[in-house]
Symmetry: C2
Subunit: 347 residues, 2 copies
């Protein structure tokens, strides 16, 4: 199927309209829409407006509350636990980030554990809130089971994404944002929507045999990155995200593709106030020296070495200029969801 280019602004308007029609407040709808469109701008379509319909389904089914009511249920000065009460993951997480950043400004570090939240889109959307405030952020989340435990069988371990963002200076950031699977499940959904094969090493079928067919892979199990290391990281991310604060963990977490169960996803947002450790200007000088050193390893005649997050910034610049490239099916899905809700979308 062909791809089409759509401006970020019109995608934001479309997604906001759909969420408002699902009963979400204008402010919250804008946040969720922006987080999804931002993923498309960064070139991560698997986490972009492709997901609008799934969010709408969950809102309409009532397993995700259209009105997000967060509550601080425990905490000392530097730490807090927030109950998301099945609200929208993005709204819950943005509030948790604000809370952690405020506490970091006071105490040098702020840590917020979130329980009973939902899928929040891309983790980097929230860690990138920290560098403009002079902070480094670490955000972890658990997600619905997607892969087998190392040496075992069955979907028992989530892909459990995490992100770290730090300022480089000049408004730039260094940003890591990864899942612990060899590939994000969303990329397999995208391949199915695009009608393309998936590469070797991404997934196995339900009987454990390798597959390149996205539909077969979606019935099977995604493989962990880096073997036992990826398994171990994913389990520990679940401990930090779900077990610590009393949220769902393991099979107790449901994904954004399921419209019939509360997500019960847990997150951990950790903010470090750089100035509490060393002067920010000196920190940024060191970051620039690190970037320069990494780039000194570029090979002649090849693309320059990139620092983590740089490719996303380059994609954003390109997509803001040219429009976001989306499969026609994704646009058709958005229009269909809009029609169902009586909202004119991407007219």
């Amino acid at each position: 199927m062909a791809d089409v280019r759509v401006s970020a602004a019109s995608l934001r308007t479309a997604a906001t309209g759909i969420f408002v029609a699902c009963g979400v407040s204008e402010e919250d709808a804008r946040l969720v829409a922006d987080s999804l469109v931002q993923a498309d701008l960064w070139g991560h379509q698997s986490h972009g407006v492709l997901r609008v319909g799934w969010y709408a389904d969950r809102l309409r089914a009532g397993v995700m509350q259209s009105s997000t009511k967060t509550e601080v249920v425990a905490g000392l000065g530097a730490v807090a636990t927030i109950d998301g009460h099945d609200g929208i993951g993005q709204v819950v997480t943005a509030r948790a980030a604000e809370e952690a950043l405020d506490r970091a400004a006071q105490h040098g570090v702020g840590v917020v554990s979130v329980r009973n939240s939902n899928h929040f889109g891309t983790a980097a959307y929230f860690t990138r809130m920290a560098p403009p405030r002079g902070c480094i952020a670490i955000l972890t989340t658990n997600s619905s089971p997607a892969m087998a435990p190392w040496g075992g069988r069955g979907k028992l371990v989530g892909s459990n994404p995490w992100s770290i963002a730090a300022p480089i200076g000049g408004g730039k950031q260094m940003v890591l944002d990864i899942a612990n699977t060899a590939v994000a499940r969303g990329k397999i959904y995208l391949a199915r929507n695009q009608g393309s094969e998936i590469p070797d090493g991404w997934a196995v079928a339900s009987d454990g045999t390798p597959t390149r067919d996205p539909a077969t892979a979606l019935l099977g199990t995604v493989l962990p990155m880096a073997g036992h290391k990826g398994y171990g990281i994913s389990v520990m991310v679940d401990v930090l995200s779900g077990v610590l604060g009393g949220s769902g963990f393991g099979s107790g977490v449901s994904g954004p593709y399921q419209a019939e169960r509360p997500g019960r996803s847990g997150h951990l947002y950790l903010a470090l106030d750089i100035a509490a450790f060393s002067p920010v200007a000196e920190f940024e000088d060191r970051m620039n020296a690190l970037v320069a050193e990494l780039k000194s390893g570029s090979r002649e005649g090849a693309d320059p070495v990139r620092y983590p997050g740089e490719l996303e910034d380059l994609a954003e610049e390109r997509n803001l200029r040219d429009g976001v490239l989306l499969p026609e099916r994704t646009v058709a899905d958005l229009r269909r969801v809009g029609e169902e809700l009586g909202v004119e979308v991407l007219a």
Copy 2:
């Protein structure tokens, strides 16, 4: 070359004697010796007494101070920055861990950044200090450059190990401890000492071609785990460990194999007081449920699924009973170092 079995107690005595002969205090020498022998007990010989000679060389060369003088140079209530003044990595890190755990007990979280330290052995030795005190610990460190930046060439990125430990209850812990390379360099040194080949995918020669020869690999570059993800993780670990607190970073860090330069290694120790988030007993119930769920994925006729850190506990039990299995060359090296220092070792 054949392997021999040596008791943990006699290895501790041997290593302690060697460090004391290098001018280290009895207390500090015991800590360093215990940390190395503990790695052997866990089955990680690459981080075990194999390294005693390298530590002795660095102490005798004066690039690592035999008397470790740590100094708190910055900090608020919940956070601190410690300067290790080129002291012994294990001693510096144990003090940083105590500092972070004390602060966590007061503030719910404690974060200590360490600058100008040295290689500290295995990270799990220090994160495992947290669970008996009701805490989860995260420890990161940078290390000397070992791999090329993703898409580039040259040794520019360290393996930068990190560890997370959390209590399961009943004195048990769940523990992750990994480097971001496809393999720890120490395992290639061990293969060279054992005269064995290394597997495919561990390393490339200096010209970028794959190799199974450990000596060729040691002149070349270790590969990152999980491609660009391992590269990204490693760079961010350097940001947290070295850049944040003003320690060495990138090529500014020297390894334990080099006797001619200060290490300038940086660490970040982060302790979360579980009780500040949810009651510890409930946390441990959830940890046990998570372990049970992971084990439910065990395949019939195969080894049971293990939780992170379980294999190390099983190895320790076995090695405490039977003695640690070491290559004869490692024992011969220990005796030689002892002779040079006038200490009788493993007589």
